[in-house]
């Protein structure tokens, strides 16, 4: 049984880094007070232990997910980690300590206090990724398609799968402005880039404005004045997405 320890883990924010923390936590049979990625270190009263990312340890932990906890748990943890909430690491770590006691049935104990919060994390990530599969707006720029998004969670990996499948013949770039990351797909090969500064995108193609204008007037024409319901629209399509949506950004 692991016990609560008055210590804060600090790691590099990567999934491997987090798995190294998991290793550390099991090794010492302790659950730290908090786990912070480097970029979000907060002043704390507790001593900070910096956990270096150790690929070998990370791999051991990851392999044991599938072997001891089942594929559902492996996928659940991987997916939930994309969530951007500040306490996701602790929620995941507490769940893992519980799961190694329960085995593969852990993720199915959906009402349990250690399990439900992880499912919440996963649901938020899936939910946002699903919304964005619809809300992403590409512009034709210099022969390729380019889009900007500002998601709460790190959903690029999920969008990659969707759009690579959908546009097999297109080169495209999705720039996640909130996480300063870019997904670039050229001739079917995808790569992620982390950015220090905003990328230089080529200017939109000349015909781009025409299609945007047509889309805008299509969108406007479809609203039925007798049913106007701005609140309902905001419920389904929260304002934080509007800045990147062609038809809505002028209404902000």
């Amino acid at each position: 049984m692991a016990c609560a320890a008055d210590v804060v883990y600090q790691y590099d924010g990567s999934f491997e880094g987090f798995l190294s923390c998991v290793f550390e936590s099991f090794l010492r049979k302790e659950i730290p007070f908090a786990l912070y990625p480097d970029r979000a270190v907060r002043p704390t009263l507790f001593p900070v232990r910096v956990i270096p990312t150790n690929p070998a340890r990370a791999a051991r932990v990851f392999d044991s997910f599938e072997k001891k906890l089942g594929t559902r748990t492996r996928d659940l943890v991987t997916r939930a980690f994309l969530n951007d909430s500040p306490d996701k690491e602790l929620i995941l770590l507490r769940f893992l300590h519980f799961a190694y006691g329960q085995g593969p049935r852990a993720p199915w104990m959906q009402g349990h206090e250690r399990v439900a919060p992880v499912l919440e994390l996963e649901k938020a990530v899936n939910g946002e990724a699903h919304l964005l599969t619809g809300f992403v707006r590409f512009e034709q720029r210099g022969g390729a398609l380019g889009a900007v998004i500002q998601p709460r969670h790190f959903v690029l990996p999920l969008l990659r799968r969707h759009f690579c499948n959908r546009y097999p013949g297109e080169d495209f770039v999705i720039w996640d402005k909130n996480h300063q990351a870019v997904l670039a797909v050229r001739q079917g090969r995808a790569e992620y880039l982390e950015l220090a500064a905003n990328p230089d995108l080529p200017p939109p193609d000349p015909e781009e404005a025409r299609f945007q204008a047509m889309w805008q007037s299509f969108y406007d024409a479809l609203a039925i004045p007798a049913r106007l319901n701005p609140t309902l629209r905001r419920t389904h399509c929260p304002k934080r997405y509007w800045a990147c949506m062609t038809e809505l950004r002028d209404q902000l």
Binding site: R105, W108, M109, Q110, G111, H112, E113, A116, H130, L131, T133, G134, F135, V136, R137, F138, E139, Q140, L145, A147, H162, F163, C164, N165, R166, Y167, P168, G169, E170, R210, F211, A213, M214, W215, S217, F218, Y219, A221, L222, A223, I224, A226, R227, L228, N229, P230, T231, L232, R233, T235, H236, C237, M245, T246, E247, L248
Partner: protein, 488 residues
Amino acid sequence: MAISQNGRAAWRDGKPPAAQFICGSGRGPAAFAPLSGAERTGVFMDLMEKLTILADSAKYDVACTSSGVDRGGAPGALGSCHAPGICHTFTADGRCLSLLKVLMTNICAYDCRYCINRRSEDRPRAAFTPEELAELTIQFYRRNYIEGLFLSSAVLVSPDYTMERMIRVLELLRGPHRFRGYIHAKTIPGADPALVRRIGLLADRLSVNIELPSEASLQLLAPDKQRAGILRPMGLIARTAAENRRELAVYRHAPAFAPAGQSTQMIVGASPESDYQILQLTEGLYQKYSLKRVFFSAYIPVCQDERLPALDTKPPLLREHRLYQADWLLRYYQFSAGEILSPEAPNFDPWLDPKCNWALHHLDQFPVDVERCSYEMLLRVPGIGPKSARRIRTARRHGRLGLEDLRRIGVVLRRARYFILCRGYAGPGRLSRVTVARALLDPGLFEAGVQQLSLFDDPAGRLTGPDSPALPAAAAGEEAAAWLAQRM
């Protein structure tokens, strides 16, 4: 708009402008030959203008879902489909916009009273060429504005001619453009069955609008349409789809016929049918024609006509909302129409959603033990939806469930606690029906989001006077409670 005025003038007497335009059965390449005056003006109009006119004409069609089929991408092609459907944006009225929803043309030979496109209405007219529309679909799709195309049309010249043109668009998309996105096509009542088969092999979903909930209303309001003319293609689609499924079971690569099934739509509030009649019809349609969806569209007066509600009538949005709730009960909660409404109580309760209403009238069947009761019964508990019911079913195999667990699972305890037992909770005790009813009042009615409903429509006539603003939520809640107490 001078151009379309011309176009309309040619149609004033309700006859197609040029007789040579009706080419035999309307099939074959001849159908795409010379354009009529009306059409020519429509065709050479700026694409932007056409799009605006033809989207505006299509906007009262409610079905805009892209659900029901999973299809991955393929090398060299464009597009994919995702079975749950994807909403790409939401219009100012809060409806999901998933497909490029347009009419092929709004030049119509018919004169349905409730429709803005009827031939006697004075409005701008336009027509897409198949090439234009296919290209527009592709360009919108590449930019991820849409999941695909929802193509419908007014009756240009004849049902067959219209269908031919629609099929041409679909052929261009599926052929040269190698488009694998979603296509929903509306078949035109009265079209040749062979055309229905052809379009079904290109589209993912087909629909035939039943338009109005009864034969009598249809006769009165859509004199050019016949019920049989609507139900026949529906039956044809259902049969062809069933045959196709058998075929697919044998030959895996047989072309799929409307793999996302068929749907229909009816207008609510233009004619006098009760909610019970509408729901019975809906259930019948699901059973008889294996429809995937039935859509309801609150009637919005667009034309002055003594047979229709007056122009200043508000659309019955709350009624539409309740119909959709009841429709969910039919599709996902294993209810039958007869359980939800009856000839004695033929209309929905304005304050209670249909499931709560049912529970209130069957208090003798509650409380149920969530750790033991059947899945079917779980579904009947107010505050438990299909998702939480499924979660409960899994979770209770792995451990016991108390109120806290249920809350974390997603059960709305505020409602459910009057109907359940679980670990450490022995049920609500004896309560009067009014107390329970009060707790079940549809919260949506008093929240900003749906308050719009009460603004526009209140079957009880209690929330608002015709022009007065909505009551403050608290006062409205009191009113509602009083009304319920009276009814119980």
